[in-house]
C-alpha cells in the first residue's frame, strides 16, 4: 500500500494544508535506496582503486609496470561494447516509460523487450569476459599469472568482487524488468502501470550509472 496524500483544504476551502511532500511513496523510497547503493558501490570501487594503486607502485618499483600491468587483461573492445549496450538500454528504457505514459502499449512492449534483451546481453557479455579472464590467468585470488609470470596482487580479487556485484545488480534488474513486462501485459488497465515502469526504470538507469563509473575508473584509468 503506497499511500500518496492529497491536499486537504481547510474549512473555508482555501489554500491546501501542507502535511507531506505529496510525492509517490515508492518513488521516494527507491531514490533513497539508490542513494544508499551509491555508497555501497563507492566502497567497492574505492577498495579496488586502493589496491590497484598498490599493485602499480609495486610493479613500478620492480621495473615491471609496462609489461605486467594487470590492465593488460582488460580488453577495451569488449568493455566498450558492454558500455554501449548498457547506455543503449537506458535509452530504450526511457522510451518504454514514455510509451507507457502515453498508453501506447505496443510501443511500450517493444521498447521494454529491447531493454530486457540489451540487459541480458550485458550479463552474458560480462559472463563471457569473466571466463575469458579466468582462462588468461586473472582469477579471484591474491595473485595473477600473466604470460607465465606470477604477480602477487589483489587486482583480481577486487576486480571480480566489484564487477561481480554490479553484474548481480544487472541480473536482478533484468528479472525485475521481466516481471514488469508480464505484469503490464496481464493487467493492462491498471493505472499503476506507468509508475511501476518508472520505478524499474530508475533502478535500471542507476545500474547503468554505476557502469559509467566502473568503466571509467577501472577500465580506462
Amino acid at each position: 500500500m503506497s499511500a500518496t496524500s492529497h491536499a486537504h483544504h481547510d474549512e473555508a476551502g482555501q489554500a491546501p494544508l501542507v502535511g507531506s511532500l505529496g510525492v509517490d511513496s515508492r518513488k521516494l523510497g527507491l531514490w533513497a535506496f539508490i542513494g544508499s547503493e551509491t555508497l555501497f558501490f563507492t566502497a567497492l570501487i574505492t577498495t579496488h582503486l586502493i589496491f590497484y594503486a598498490r599493485t602499480k607502485a609495486q610493479l613500478m618499483a620492480d621495473g615491471m609496470l609496462a609489461h605486467m600491468d594487470p590492465k593488460h587483461f582488460l580488453g577495451i573492445n569488449l568493455t566498450s561494447v558492454l558500455a554501449a549496450i548498457l547506455l543503449a538500454s537506458s535509452l530504450t528504457m526511457v522510451l518504454a516509460l514514455a510509451a507507457s505514459k502515453s498508453k501506447e502499449w505496443a510501443k511500450f512492449r517493444f521498447w521494454l523487450l529491447a531493454t530486457i534483451i540489451l540487459g541480458s546481453s550485458f550479463v552474458l557479455g560480462q559472463a563471457y569476459e569473466f571466463t575469458h579472464l579466468y582462462a588468461e590467468g586473472l582469477k579471484l585470488a591474491p595473485q595473477y599469472v600473466f604470460e607465465g609470470e606470477t604477480v602477487k596482487s589483489l587486482f583480481g580479487v577486487t576486480f571480480f568482487t566489484m564487477t561481480g556485484f554490479h553484474g548481480l545488480h544487472v541480473t536482478i534488474g533484468v528479472i525485475w524488468l521481466l516481471a514488469v513486462y508480464f505484469k503490464v501485459q496481464r493487467f493492462a488497465a491498471s493505472p499503476e502501470n506507468p509508475m511501476d515502469v518508472e520505478l524499474v526504470g530508475l533502478y535500471w538507469h542507476f545500474v547503468d550509472l554505476v557502469w559509467v563509473a566502473i568503466f571509467t575508473l577501472i577500465y580506462l584509468i
Binding site: T4, H6, A7, P16, L21, G22, V23, D24, K27, L28, W31, A32, I34, G35, S36, T38, L39, T42, A43, I45, T46, L49, I50, A53, I76, S80, A83, A84, L87, A88, S90, L91, M93, V94, L95, A98, K101, S102, P191, E192, P194, M195, G201, L202, H205, F206, D208, L209, V212, A213, F215, T216, L220, I221
Partner: protein
C-alpha cells in the same frame, strides 16, 4: 474511497519530454562514449594528467545526462534531488578520504 493513485501532486512537476529529446540525449551519450574510447587509444600521446581530466569530465557529463534526463531528476520534486545528491557527496568524500589515507604520503598518511 475512490482511487487516487495517479492524482497529480502539486509537488511533482512532471513535464514529459518528447521521444525525440530522449533520442538526442542518447546520441550525445553515444558520442561521449566514442570520444572516451578514442582518447583512451591515444592516451600515451597526450600525457597522464590531461587524459585523466578529460575522462573525468566526460564521464561526469555522461552520468549527469543519465541522471538528469533519463531519470528525470531535473524538473522533478526537489526531495529526489536531495536524497540522491547528498549520498553522492558523501560517496565522493569517502573515496577521496580513503585514497588520501591509503596513499602512503609521508605526513598525511603515517
Amino acid at each position: 474511497m475512490a482511487e487516487h493513485a495517479t492524482h497529480d501532486h502539486h509537488a511533482e512537476a512532471h513535464e514529459a519530454h518528447s521521444t525525440r529529446f530522449y533520442w538526442m540525449v542518447g546520441a550525445v551519450l553515444a558520442v561521449i562514449t566514442t570520444i572516451e574510447v578514442a582518447i583512451f587509444l591515444v592516451k600515451d600521446a597526450i600525457g597522464h594528467e590531461l587524459f585523466l581530466a578529460i575522462l573525468f569530465l566526460l564521464s561526469i557529463a555522461k552520468g549527469a545526462g543519465v541522471v538528469m534526463f533519463f531519470m528525470h531528476l531535473r524538473g522533478d520534486a526537489r526531495i529526489f534531488q536531495f536524497v540522491f545528491v547528498v549520498p553522492l557527496t558523501f560517496a565522493v568524500t569517502l573515496c577521496l578520504a580513503f585514497l588520501t589515507i591509503f596513499s602512503h604520503h609521508v605526513g598525511i598518511a603515517g
